[in-house]
């Protein structure tokens, strides 16, 4: 009998305690960050995005030497790079930071529908061309808009140029073959 009344009392009392807590919160300042109006990059408070946040990748084509190490490091193989070897004497312009380049990067494609944003590629890159940015607003209506070809985007090589270097390399190969055949 004592337990019965105790239970009934506890039922009412703990409910009242809970109600006191919730009414307390009713008049507290709310914590919501109103996203489109307050952007996380605005440095609005402790919730804002740090500068090392891992979001969309960016490739600086002026820095890329086409070494393919990011593609090898990528666990999901979302980076596909096509390069064309340059013929001697027709080397691509050097890197913006001064290094030498031997490869024409004719295609640098990152499929952001596959990327897992692990930042292993940025670690592997010897020149620091591929970096993680804080840009995250790139939702789209079309899946194929999420495949970024940085060569096209940055216009580092035009289609004609790609065709030209490819042709040059093919010719170079032919000549080499000839040279290899001639000594016989």
């Amino acid at each position: 009998m004592k337990d019965y009344f105790k239970n009934v009392w506890l039922g009412v009392w703990t409910a009242l305690i809970g109600m006191r807590i919730t009414i307390d919160h009713l008049f507290r300042k709310n914590v919501t960050v109103q996203y489109p109006n307050v952007h996380p990059k605005d440095k609005a408070g402790w919730m804002d995005m740090p500068s090392n946040a891992r979001n969309r990748l960016y490739v600086d084509m002026d820095e890329c030497n086409g070494c393919n190490s990011c593609a090898r490091a990528c666990p999901v193989n979302c980076i596909s790079i096509e390069t064309v070897r340059s013929v001697p004497g027709d080397a691509p312009p050097p890197l913006a930071s001064g290094g030498k380049r031997n490869l024409w990067v004719s295609q640098f494609e990152i499929d952001f529908t596959k990327c897992c944003f692990c930042s292993l590629c940025t670690e592997a890159c010897p020149t620091g061309a591929i970096v993680m940015t804080t840009e995250f607003e790139y939702s789209s209506y079309n899946r194929y808009d999420l495949v970024y070809n940085f060569v096209k985007l940055q216009n580092s090589m035009s289609d004609e140029k790609i065709a030209e270097v490819k042709e040059k390399w093919a010719e170079h190969q032919k000549e080499k073959k000839k040279e290899a055949v001639e000594p016989k």
Partner: protein
């Protein structure tokens, strides 16, 4: 809220009346999106975070419903496996028209990290459902999902309700003419 911007529409009186009504209807649908409580994988945790106090999905008029019948859109938040694909399709079919799909995260977009060796992973939810908005990220930030949501609302606002049938019929006719 732009209800009257169709007044400038050069279609005529039809356009004014239907355009205004259409705008109102679209406005209602875009501002009151009830979503299906449906979490699949990692992205579901970020999806829950979007519901939580800091991001508060309800600001957009999104109220969680656990029955697909009452939901307006579904957020595919995570990897869809082949075992799940049939069930997902069924859940989608149970939803009442008009219905929308947001593919959240890499896995839903194209299989994500599992696209290469995942023998049991559906490589992209668009193979079974018509996806309206693709939100990239693995998992996307809560803000990124909110951006996807705003895109979806924009899409709903642009929809045609009344003239769709007429337009489709006209297009059909034109196609037939071309065929002849």
């Amino acid at each position: 809220m732009g209800l009257l911007n169709r007044l400038n529409d050069p279609i005529g009186l039809d356009g004014i009346i239907f355009g205004t009504v259409e705008d109102l209807l679209n406005w209602g649908r875009s501002k009151s999106d009830w979503y299906l409580q449906f979490g699949l994988a990692c992205c579901a945790i970020e999806f829950m975070a979007v519901n939580a106090s800091h991001f508060d999905m309800m600001r957009y008029g999104c109220i969680p419903r656990s029955s697909p019948r009452q939901a307006d859109f579904v957020i595919i938040s995570g990897t869809v496996t082949l075992k799940m694909a049939d069930r997902l399709k069924r859940v989608y079919e149970q939803m009442a028209e008009p219905k929308y799909v947001i593919a959240m995260g890499s896995c839903a977009n194209s299989g994500g990290p599992y696209w290469e060796h995942g023998y049991h992973v559906l490589k992209g939810v668009d193979r079974i459902l018509p996806v309206d908005v693709y939100v990239p990220g693995c998992p996307p930030r809560p803000e990124a999902l909110q951006e996807g949501l705003i895109l979806l609302q924009k899409k709903i606002r642009m929809e045609e309700i009344f003239r769709k049938r007429k337009r489709l019929a006209e297009e059909d006719l034109a196609n037939q003419m071309n065929y002849k």
